[in-house]
């Protein structure tokens, strides 16, 4: 799967706007990301917005015979050093917290999954500026 990047290799930004399972958006984005990496492109960032932030909770326990979307993303991030960013404003509305946010908001626990980080909307704009293509997956 590893090859040198060539002239036509681009930097992609990916936006995931829906949570896991309810909509296919996260599955489609994951498969697009894998295909892009296999072709030697770079994934600059995956930005989780709207309900997309719900991909980043480690509390999910999908049925044994189904895929675990959070784990798929975490493993892809680990293998390819992907930057998985969960939007902080969207996450606050929907109950996705890291240890830092939990402390700041006075919550008694957190649920962020490995490989995901919480940051601001500026990271989405920055991805738009730095990436050659931004691809949005949603409902």
């Amino acid at each position: 799967m590893l090859r040198a990047r060539g002239d036509r290799d681009l930097r992609f930004g990916i936006v995931v706007n829906e949570g896991p399972y309810t909509h296919q958006a996260s599955d489609s984005a994951y498969r697009f990301a894998r295909a892009a990496l296999e072709k030697g492109h770079e994934i600059l960032r995956v930005f989780f917005y709207h309900d997309g932030v719900n991909n980043g909770t480690r509390f999910t326990v999908p049925p044994q015979d189904d895929r675990n979307l959070q784990r798929q993303w975490s493993e892809l991030a680990e293998a390819h050093k992907l930057d998985l960013v969960v939007c902080i404003a969207a996450a606050q509305r929907r109950g996705i917290l890291d240890a830092n946010e939990a402390k700041r908001q006075g919550k008694d626990g957190d649920n962020i999954a490995p490989g995901f980080r919480i940051s601001g909307l500026g990271q989405l704009i920055e991805a738009g500026i730095q990436a050659d293509r931004l691809v949005v997956f949603g409902d």
Binding site: G120, I125, G128
Partner: protein
């Protein structure tokens, strides 16, 4: 690959009615944050997106936050190109008179107040999309 240094053209396409879903509000939040990055920003209101700009929205009866006034502040954020599709308005029995007046002060023209809402034909929308670097859809 010099994306960082170049001023890019960003288009935000809004196609959904407000309040029934959060997309309109969270789209606006991106626009506000994005303003700090000093890119060339346009907003397009197509299909039900035109309802986001309706004058006189009163959400007190549904408990949902009324963010519609924020559109009127966009001029202060250097967001001054709000393209509203003519065909989308017409199909819904709306005219630009049904929308909020949104304007900005043009500092290059003695701070004259100018309208930010630009009613555009579908063919102009097609051209607008074709000239963008980044299209964000909500």
């Amino acid at each position: 690959m010099t994306g960082q240094s170049k001023r890019k053209k960003f288009l935000y396409i809004n196609r959904r009615a407000p309040h029934g879903t959060i997309y309109a509000l969270e789209s606006l939040e991106v626009v506000l944050i994005g303003a700090a990055f000093e890119q060339d920003v346009s907003l397009a209101f197509i299909d039900d997106g035109v309802y986001q700009l309706m004058a006189g929205q009163d959400t007190s009866g549904i408990g949902v936050k009324n963010f519609s006034k924020t559109y009127r502040a966009l001029g202060d954020y250097e967001v001054r190109k709000l393209y509203v599709e003519r065909e989308s308005l017409a199909e819904r029995g709306l005219t630009v008179e049904d929308l909020m007046p949104i304007s900005f002060e043009d500092e290059e023209d003695d701070y004259a107040e100018k309208p930010s809402i630009l009613v555009a034909d579908r063919s102009e929308m097609v051209r607008l999309i074709a000239e963008q670097d980044v299209v964000l859809s909500f």
